[in-house]
Amino acid sequence: MKTMGFSKKIVLGLMLAFGLTLGVHASEGGLAWDKAPNKTNDMGALQNGAKLFVNYCLNCHSAAFMRFNRLRDIGLTEQQIKDNLLFTTEKVGETMKAAIDPRQAKEWFGANPPDLTVIARSRAGSGGSGADYLYTYMRTFYPDAEKPTGWNNLVFPNVGMPHVLWELQGTRKPVYDIKEEHGHEVQVFKGWEQATPGSMTPLQYDQAVGDLVSYLQWMGEPAQNDRVRVGVWVLLFLSLFTVITWRLNAAFWKDVK
């Protein structure tokens, strides 16, 4: 029937347009983001990430919507949280507040360090997920004598934050290739050169940052893995329900002539 063909064309057009819109996030300049490992189901990695977070990030950044006792979700007991992770507060029911005075922070870094509770959700974009961005960001610091903190970053040029994990990573210099493009000489990022060693090997450092970023991703939405688990059951139920309603409908319409 002709009209059916028409409906199909519309559906096809819709699908085509949907495909087009998916391309919205396709192109943007700058350094390509590395793919972050997703360890939000790995309790050991999340606990290590939480430890790194509390030790290195929480001095200047808050996670003001995240309560310490929510860390029970990643396999820690309240006593463990109290003994190992509470530096800035006494109560496990408190949210994660930075140790730094915001006014001082603004003076030192030029801006208030942003809250990190949902940072992994907010940094997603054309280059990948927010975790990809953070994973790349934490691994592309390099010394830059022209900056007040002595540090610069490849994915966030002129960033106000110094490389807080430099003792772990050591210092690295970006290496550039000079290429001709449209009659100009341009610098193309080629790779890294280790200047001074850190306390970790590059592989260990990548794993540690992977743990930290997975923690940040988990903290952005602590319910995320429960959500998927519940979703599977909901869809299983709805599949069954759909079969029943399909047959119910057919039973009622069977005799309609």
């Binding site: 002709k2 028409f6 347009a17 309560r67 959500r227 519940v230 309603t245 009622f252 319409w253």
Partner: protein, 470 residues
């Protein structure tokens, strides 16, 4: 008082209870018959007829989840963002309620756009269903207001700057603009006062109007009867009826379309819950990434885009540039000359048309293009109200229109999607040109409909609906 019915003392408890209520509230029983068990809907409804019921379902989801969100949400610029995160983290199942509401907003527009498309292709707005269509358009307008004001409430960067940009548009209206924008905001920039009034409108004022309009939409529909894919009247004087006067091509809404709709609902819920549980951000389209950064009046985001369901109209707004004004002026002049040359009317009216055209052109030259952009954006929605009087085709349904009409409607849909796509992107030269052409096509489609809808030979419309037994 209506007649009092007695039931036999041997009747079951259920029958007695029903009788007790029917004697005391016959209106409810009458309404059930009129709108459900004895509302005869055409038998030949197809896939496209599910979206009205789904819109009702989504409305209920939004109201119920909204009630629970309001229990924990704080409409205060200092607390709003944190209260949403509180719902997402500390309120038991709060994340589910919030995702249902945020996904529901997008689902509402998906469903309503498909519902409107159905009306468009099958001529459901034609006589005698003009009021059904107009109430529907008003619902769409309310929904846009509801979505726009609701989007401010999470108080993220996109909430804030989206509201700032849209409210500033009102400032482009000559004379009253700046004061109007001030009245909407309640402040010189979007702030706490804006958040409070948007909250009030979002949770009580607009939903009340919306519910009233939904009732009016359904009452008007049930008074004139539903259209169908063939555009054949099943309750007309020529339509065949059974011994009791019920249309032979109709079928009681309950139970036939209730079971039908429950099936549709379960398929819809599979898609809806799949998004809620597996991709609630929908790749940044349903929940924009920037909106996870708290609103900061001192930091303008690089790229401010409205949520996807507004972007076709946002494209029309951006399409109206100073250059575009010349094209629009040419359209106004061509339209006026065409009307004077071709239409049969008294010369007084022709003179009036020329005078009005001259005044409009003078205004178009005098007032900033930004204002006309706002007019285009609003006009894109308002023009839908006039559809019943723009369509002059001798047949209602696309099925019996000349074949090329189908391609025209397909291009219209594609054009609307392209406008939507471009509205999400940062402005660009080529995108700007395409959206200008798209805007002209969108308005041309409607404004020239009185002419093109008459062209071509329609196919023979059958006397009765085409129905194949399942």
């Amino acid at each position: 008082m209506a007649e009092f019915h007695e039931v036999s003392p041997n009747a079951s408890a259920g029958e007695k209870l029903t009788n007790w209520f029917e004697n005391r509230l016959p209106t409810a029983f009458e309404a059930y018959r009129v709108h459900m068990s004895e509302y005869y809907a055409p038998k030949n409804f197809n896939f496209w007829y599910i979206f009205g019921s789904l819109a009702m379902l989504v409305l209920v989801i939004q109201i119920v989840t909204g009630i629970f969100l309001v229990m924990h949400y704080k409409p205060d610029a200092a607390l709003a963002f944190a209260s949403v995160e509180y719902i997402m983290r500390d309120v038991p199942w709060g994340w589910l309620v919030r995702y249902m509401h945020s996904t529901g907003a997008s689902a509402f527009f998906v469903v309503v756009y498909l519902h409107m498309f159905r009306g468009l292709i099958y001529g459901s707005y034609r006589k005698p269903r003009e009021l059904v269509w107009i109430f529907g358009c008003a619902i769409f307008l309310c929904l846009m207001a509801e979505a726009f004001m609701g989007y401010l409430l999470p108080w993220g960067q996109m909430s804030y700057w989206g509201a700032q940009v849209i409210v500033n548009l009102f400032a482009a209206i000559p004379f009253i603009g700046p004061d109007l924008a001030l009245l909407i905001r309640g402040d010189f920039v979007v702030g706490d006062a804006t958040l409070n009034r948007f909250f009030s409108f979002h949770v009580i004022a607009v939903p009340l109007v919306l519910l009233g309009l939904v009732v009016a939409h359904l009452m008007a529909l049930h008074d004139v009867g539903s259209n169908n894919p063939d555009g054949v009247e099943i309750k007309g004087p020529k339509a065949p009826k059974d011994g009791k006067g019920h249309p032979l091509d109709g079928i009681p809404f309950h139970p036939y379309y209730t079971v039908h709709d429950i099936f549709g609902v379960s398929v819809f819920l599979m898609v809806f819950t799949a998004i809620i549980f597996f991709a609630p951000e929908m790749g940044g389209y349903f929940l924009e990434y920037n909106n996870f950064i708290p609103a900061d009046p001192f930091k303008t985001p690089l790229h401010i885009a409205p949520v996807w369901y507004f972007t076709p109209f946002y494209s029309m707004l951006r399409a109206v540039t100073d250059e575009m004004m010349y094209a629009l002026i040419a359209c106004v002049l061509a339209g006026a000359l065409f009307a004077v040359a071709k239409m049969k009317m008294a010369s007084v009216f022709k003179g009036a048309i020329l005078v009005v055209a001259a005044v409009v052109v003078a205004m178009m030259l005098a007032i900033d293009a930004k204002f006309w952009g706002v007019v285009a954006m609003g006009g894109g929605v308002v023009i839908l109200f006039f559809l019943p009087w723009l369509d002059n085709s001798p047949v209602k349904s696309i099925r019996y229109r000349p074949s090329w009409h189908k391609y025209l409607y397909a291009i219209f849909v594609l054009n609307f999607l392209v406008l939507g796509y471009l509205g999400m992107l940062p402005p660009s030269t080529i995108g700007g040109r395409v959206s200008q052409a798209g805007t002209l096509f969108y308005f041309g489609f409607f404004l020239l409909m009185p002419w093109w809808s008459r062209i071509g030979t329609p196919k023979q419309v059958p006397d009765r609906v085409i129905f194949a037994a399942h």
